[in-house]
Amino acid sequence: MKDILSYTIRRFGWMLLTVWAVYTVSFVLMRAVPGNPFSSERTVPPAIERQLRARYNLDAPPIEQYTDYLVGIVTRGDLGVSIRLEDYTVNEVLAEGFPVSASLAILALVFALSLGVTAGVVSAVYRGSVGDLALMGTAVLGIAIPNFVLASLAILLFVFIIPIFPAAGWGTLRQVALPALCLGAPVAAYIARLTRAGMLEVLGREHVRTAFAKGLPKKTVILKHVLPGALLPVVSYLGPATASVLTGSLVLEKIFALPGIGSHFIYAATQRDYTLAMGMVLTYTVLLFVMNSLVDLSYAVIDPRVKLQ
């Protein structure tokens, strides 16, 4: 318990450091870009120019802007005002899109884990069978087909040809299901392969032979003695998996026209809305950091030999 507490505190410290580094780099880049709303090269009417300057505190020296913005983030969680979306603060945009993106990502991860682990276990247990070959073939296919292609094919198939899902929209489970499936598919495929490899490795270990020699039924041996060890690589993959789901959601939100933060991010980046882009980079950094820490924690919970550091 003490381990976990001190680990959490230390990780939190590292997170602050990471976020600070990301913030600094983004800030410098933002100010360095020529043609950005803060640079003097822009030709805007003087009235608007004045307004902009006042709003973004541009008259202050850069160092002061840097600290002011940072203080704003730290004390009030205020990420500033969106440059392109008039009348919106970055926080408002995030608050609006976040529930959508978060439920999409969580659903995708849950789907990927349940499908991937089941497929991996089945194919390891029936290793070499037709089922194993079919599952692993599908898994390689799942890894090799980009999810935007998969999504387009899925739309074609399930929306137009066999209409069981609505084309777009947000709110009901039916509307979320198809994007989540497409988003989770490559992750599920990877998890299936990891689980299978892990299962086969653990199945070859001596302690599994001991478990069989103890007279335990096959099901008990597989579920209690093999699966936990086989899941260790899957648990470590969950960090990268989260990153991959966040990445994929950028595209899928575009294809399925979902109002998540991913679609805002593409817009923000291509329209050079730097405050919005930075707000999102910071949000995602925090998310990913928390996820990675959770992964480390659960790894230590499953494997008593691992010391948290």
Binding site: E206, T210, K214, G215, P217, K218, T220, P228
Partner: protein, 354 residues
């Protein structure tokens, strides 16, 4: 030629006579096991027969790859299939053939009636489960103990194998134990359902020499108390001399010599056994005299073997050894059990036997 002092073996033989009855609890009959590998079919066990009586200790000796472990794993249904396959044979235990039993039937025998301990206690215990979980899951399954009773039993067993403060250690994971302690845990686990037969597959090979002696002593002590029969698989003849009643020597998937321990050490009848005994270091022998190693390599079991499998390494070989595979034939025994060896030569005279 070195020979162990006959005095050592007498005690073992004598005690065995008091505890073993004549009815075998396990009878293995003409067992054949093969493995499919990249190099072809490897016939790992090529017709092995033996029996084990209640309460006695049978040692199976041989180099690695001689099929001694596979024989026992096959009996327990623990040979991985594929690549392994049991081609033929029976193993009768309690009147039923283990090799033709259903999975369910085998499960009720494993752990309950026949238990196993393995060579490397570092890997044989599940690293992700506490000792308590690993000890109690067996008694709860086979003896239908409640959680509470199973725990009590686990504490009792750990105490029995000499682990101090067993209540506390139950919560520990295997990596928190030393190698010797882990092997003790393994033994506690194996004996917790009071099996009739314990198969110990090189139980001391991975341990320090001092610990080895302790573990062997523990096994002998527990055997005396519980009357468990033991099949001891080892390549260490030194261990055998101290604890075994009877010895089977295996070479290239076959039993080449079978005798009671006293007779085997006093008058080995197979050139391979003689070689094995010769490679044991002996305090009395001359220091300048090098340890005799058996020259050559065991045969490639993926190729068909014609004639005697040991002939290429044998100093007594004849024409006949090229073509005829010797079978186990009785020799003069110095003990109470028959002494059998599979060799065309009479090792005492060096001449061919008729």
């Amino acid at each position: 030629m070195t020979q162990t002092d006959p005095q050592n073996t007498t005690t073992a033989t004598e005690s065995s006579q008091t505890k073993s009855s004549d009815e075998p609890i396990l009878r293995v009959n003409d067992l054949h096991v093969s493995f499919k590998t990249d190099e072809g079919m490897v016939r790992a066990v090529r017709g092995v027969s033996f029996d084990v009586r209640a309460g006695e200790t049978v040692a199976i000796v041989g180099e690695s790859g001689s099929g001694k472990s596979v024989t026992n794993l096959a009996m327990m249904g623990l040979v991985p299939k594929p690549p392994g396959n049991i081609d033929s044979g029976q193993a009768f235990f309690g009147g039923r053939d283990l090799l033709s039993m259903s999975d369910r039937g085998l499960q009720s025998v494993r752990g309950r009636h026949i238990a196993m301990i393995f060579q490397d206690p570092m890997t044989a215990l599940n690293p992700l489960m506490t000792v308590e979980q690993q000890l109690t899951e067996m008694t709860r399954l086979h003896l239908s103990l409640t959680r509470h009773d199973a725990r009590k039993r686990a504490i009792e067993m750990l105490g029995l194998v000499g682990i101090t403060a067993p209540e506390k250690r139950l919560r520990d994971y295997p990596h928190q134990f030393s190698g010797g302690m882990r092997q003790r845990v393994m033994i506690a686990m194996a004996l917790s359902c009071e099996p009739e037969l314990l198969i110990a597959d090189e139980p001391t090979t991975a341990l320090d020499v001092t610990i080895q002696a302790q573990i062997m002593e523990l096994l002998a002590d527990l055997q005396a108390r519980k009357g468990t029969a033991i099949v001891l698989i080892t390549h260490d003849l030194g261990v055998v001399a101290g604890v075994a009643d009877r010895v089977l020597v295996m070479y290239a998937g076959r039993i080449v010599e079978k005798a009671d321990v006293r007779s085997l050490f006093a008058a080995p009848q197979h050139p391979y056994t003689i070689g094995l005994l010769g490679s044991l270091p002996n305090v009395e022998s001359n220091r300048d005299e090098p340890l005799a190693a058996i020259p050559g390599q065991p045969p490639d079991l993926s190729q068909p073997i014609v004639g005697c499998s040991f002939r290429d390494r044998c100093e007594h070989r004849f024409e006949r050894c090229q073509t005829d595979d010797p079978i186990l034939t009785p020799r003069e025994s110095l003990g109470s059990e028959p002494h059998l060896a599979a060799c065309h030569a009479d090792v005492n005279t060096g001449e061919t036997r008729q």
